[in-house]
Symmetry: C2
Subunit: 504 residues, 2 copies
């Protein structure tokens, strides 16, 4: 015994103690939830949408952590999810649109005059040589390699079936519940077996949840229960864990979460919007359950919780109720758009003892920042990745939420056709520096200049008033896109890619 | 740092060092594979069936471990799987037949004169109060609670959808790939997405393997690849692991494993039997891959490998080729029967440094023995279970394969109607002591007495020659069944359960 003890001592010192010191990390990711789809105002004022929704657990989380009031994702889901896993901007990893359930299948809608951009429609790949995929070292792999217990629950959607990206275990997750190639569930209802009904199941039937078939367990609840089960082992063993709880809610199909819908019908919302609001509250209940679990077993003090969503709120009608492109007002447009309605997301980070409780950080951040932030939080410094990382750690903002860096340039790039044209939707790029945001329309060459400080709704184009600033931002955007070899659509007549903003 | 170090020292001593000492355990379970469906003879002589099949990795495993030549399961799959998880005899846990994909659905075929036995057709349940289920503390839960990293890959089939038994995470597994309520796959073919084709998927489509859809990866291979992925973390972290690799092969549908089928067609087997043989060889390749993985990373020396199957080889035509009830000759009958063809299984246990390499143990053992054996192997002595355990550890047999205990009584109990009547099939029980086996037909009251030492084919009923012995074994069987309150079918006319063997 003494012999073994002596031998194991260095191991103990290097692994076990360090493990004890390392914080756990929970990424709580919501699908298609807009910036104001919460009772927690991320703007300087409470909006009518904030008044509509009930998210007491987001409020609770915000009291204990830092709210990021200028947090961004990409316009649609897969690009955001790939950026989170790789630390790369979407224009860099080249997965600029959502990936199809089947491989070799671009999801671009047809556009007469254009051939599709050469984007990575086979998604993210942790192994080399998968055609049309982005090869990168995923975040959970690094965490696992450094002793973390890595858990995936819910929506993955990093790549199509028949590719390694369809399997969270290939990303470095040790546990996977319900994640694969699909981007939305066939049904949220246990009564529908989440889609798993003989003869009726599509590719979007959610897998791994047979325990709940035929029950009234809403998908959001089932995923929460499974996540808490998966956490038992690392909590018991005091192994640091990384939980990626990625809800299918509040993506379509918009179905009533029966536990919460009545309140919204009573408040006079139409049927569809009442369903949507009930899904938001069901998601919030899940957040509360995770917090309760962590508080009950005492691990909350050493657990970082990152709440975020993957793009702006969906604002197409149908499937939403009401009028299209209005669901994120005063933000312009919604999912799919490079306007704020499509990319601005609610984000909260709790880290007891580090993040200033109840603070607001106004510095703009973007989803690829999560990658270096989590590695910094985990104390992992000597890691190697095959990709070069674009994101920047937001950890300093947790300690000092007042910090501001108005020189940083953020970039969005959507060289695809997602749906019929709409405000800021299809073939658009954009860049932000300080309060200034420059849009770019690849087809027309135009580009607004917006002052987000004074005009969060992007209603007043100032590009003619400040042409030098507009040119400068367009130039920065162009330089960045070129350096990343960003995919661009191709003019069918000329066979050439469409122009960069500074090429007009 | 010094402070944390001091605090953690006792933890280190109690958990980490002990963890290092504990052996890993792999249960490699094959579905519906008969005693002779291998090139490794478990009888005293090589049979024609042994000559038909190619299982070099079973031979390799046997050279390094102990072969159990008199190992038993139950006549069908769920009872065996529940016994393995609980250490209980099937007559005791009351899951005497296979469980349906849907809950509250007994699988008994219709029998005019009988009402079905009150068996636990909702399967195994790790929580209380699920009607018609067996409440028990599952083996992986105990292993997990004692620091093991527990992995489930493949077929679970402990209970129907809509019950906790449908989810391996509820059994104490930390990782689950592809296991739920189903008892066989819709398809073994990657080209068929294992059944996951929109509009065509049944409940039996295998979940969790989207990575391989559309590829030529046979299900057996996909499960093996996933199992090896899941092993990476515990191997790297030096955490003791329990891998339950439970192949869907060689259950129906009988489909050619394209890597191996040609050899059997060339040997003159009919199409169906060539497919079956190719599935056997694919399973054996999986065993070899697991051994290679463990050897390559050096963990094989501290890893126990238990190879076994869940019942005798299927011998119904169709789906098998040839003539019904002949596929296990010289053993009588096949799956579903209490004759040897239905319950005798190939079993090999390798434990380097403990099990005598290349030895044969002739002592009869049964599947519920796996539970106490693995706990003993893992050094877990202070465990609590809600059930009382019937199995007996076979660890002494590994150290001394010559050991014999002719006084032990084994019991089989099948108070159900599985398929149309056949030899030893439906409403049968049986008991064995020493070489003597007593059958019992619940409907007729008859019961053979066989001397397995002289007559492994159970062709010569000796009950008239040795009436006292026959009576004694029937009495022992009755006492045991009564003490377990074993389910019995009910005479529809009288409303009374059928008689125990000693009640005639």
């Amino acid at each position: 015994m003494r012999y073994v003890f002596t031998l194991a001592l260095p191991l103990f010192f290097s692994f076990f103690v360090r493990a004890q010191e390392r914080p756990n990390v929970v990424v709580f990711l919501v699908d298609d939830m807009g910036w104001q789809d919460t009772s927690l105002p991320f703007w300087t004022e409470e909006t009518p949408l904030n008044k509509r929704y009930h998210t007491p657990n987001m409020e609770r989380l915000a009291r204990q952590g830092v709210m990021f009031t200028n947090a961004y994702a990409t316009p649609v889901c897969t690009p955001t999810r790939a950026s989170l896993m790789t630390g790369m901007n979407a224009a860099h990893h080249g997965i600029t649109n959502w990936t199809h359930v089947q491989k070799d299948t671009p999801t671009d809608k047809k556009e007469e005059s254009l051939d599709i951009a050469d984007w990575n429609y086979n998604g993210l790949s942790p192994v080399q040589d998968v055609p049309h995929s982005a090869y990168a070292t995923p975040l959970p792999q690094l965490l696992k390699d450094h002793g973390y217990y890595t858990i995936h629950v819910g929506k993955a959607h990093w790549g199509p079936m028949g590719t390694p990206g369809a399997n969270p275990l290939n990303m470095g997750f040790m546990v996977n519940v319900a994640g694969n190639n699909i981007g939305h569930p066939q049904s949220f209802r246990g009564e529908d077996n989440y889609g798993n009904i003989p003869g009726k199941a599509t590719y979007n039937a959610v897998q791994g949840l047979a325990e709940y078939y035929g029950s009234s367990t809403f998908l959001t609840e089932a995923l929460t229960l499974e996540a808490l089960k998966a956490l038992e082992a690392p909590v018991q063993n005091k192994q640091p864990f990384f939980l990626y709880l990625s809800h299918y809610a509040v993506h379509t199909p918009l179905q009533a979460d029966p536990r919460f819908v009545q309140r919204y019908l009573d408040a006079g919302l139409d049927e569809i919007e009442a369903r949507y609001a009930s899904m938001i509250e069901g998601m919030d209940k899940s957040l509360g359950d995770v917090l309760n679990f962590l508080e009950k077993n005492g691990s909350v003090k050493n657990t970082i919780i990152i709440f975020m969503t993957d793009n702006g709120g969906l604002s197409l009608v149908p499937p939403r109720g009401g009028e299209a492109h209005t669901h994120n007002l005063p933000l312009r447009a919604g999912k799919g758009s490079v306007y704020e309605g499509g990319i601005r997301i609610p984000m909260i980070v709790r880290w007891d003892g580090v993040a200033v409780p109840g603070a607001r950080a106004d510095q703009y951040v973007i989803v690829e920042d999560v990658f270096p932030s989590i590695l910094e939080m985990a104390g992992i410094r000597d890691y190697k990745t095959v990709q070069s990382v674009d994101g920047k750690s937001f950890v300093p903002l947790l300690r000092n939420p007042e910090l501001e860096d108005g020189t940083r340039v953020l970039v969005w790039h959507f060289p695809n056709k997602w749906q019929p044209d709409g405000p800021g939707i299809n073939y658009r790029s954009g860049s932000r520096r300080g309060p200034w945001k420059r849009g770019y329309d690849m087809r027309g060459g135009g580009g607004e200049l917006d002052d987000l400080g004074a005009d969060i709704g992007e209603q007043r184009d100032l590009s003619r008033k400040y042409p030098a600033r507009a040119r400068e931002l367009a130039g920065l955007l162009s330089v960045q896109l070129r350096s990343w070899n960003a995919p661009m659509p191709v003019d069918r007549k000329t066979g050439k890619r469409l122009r960069m903003p500074d090429e007009w």
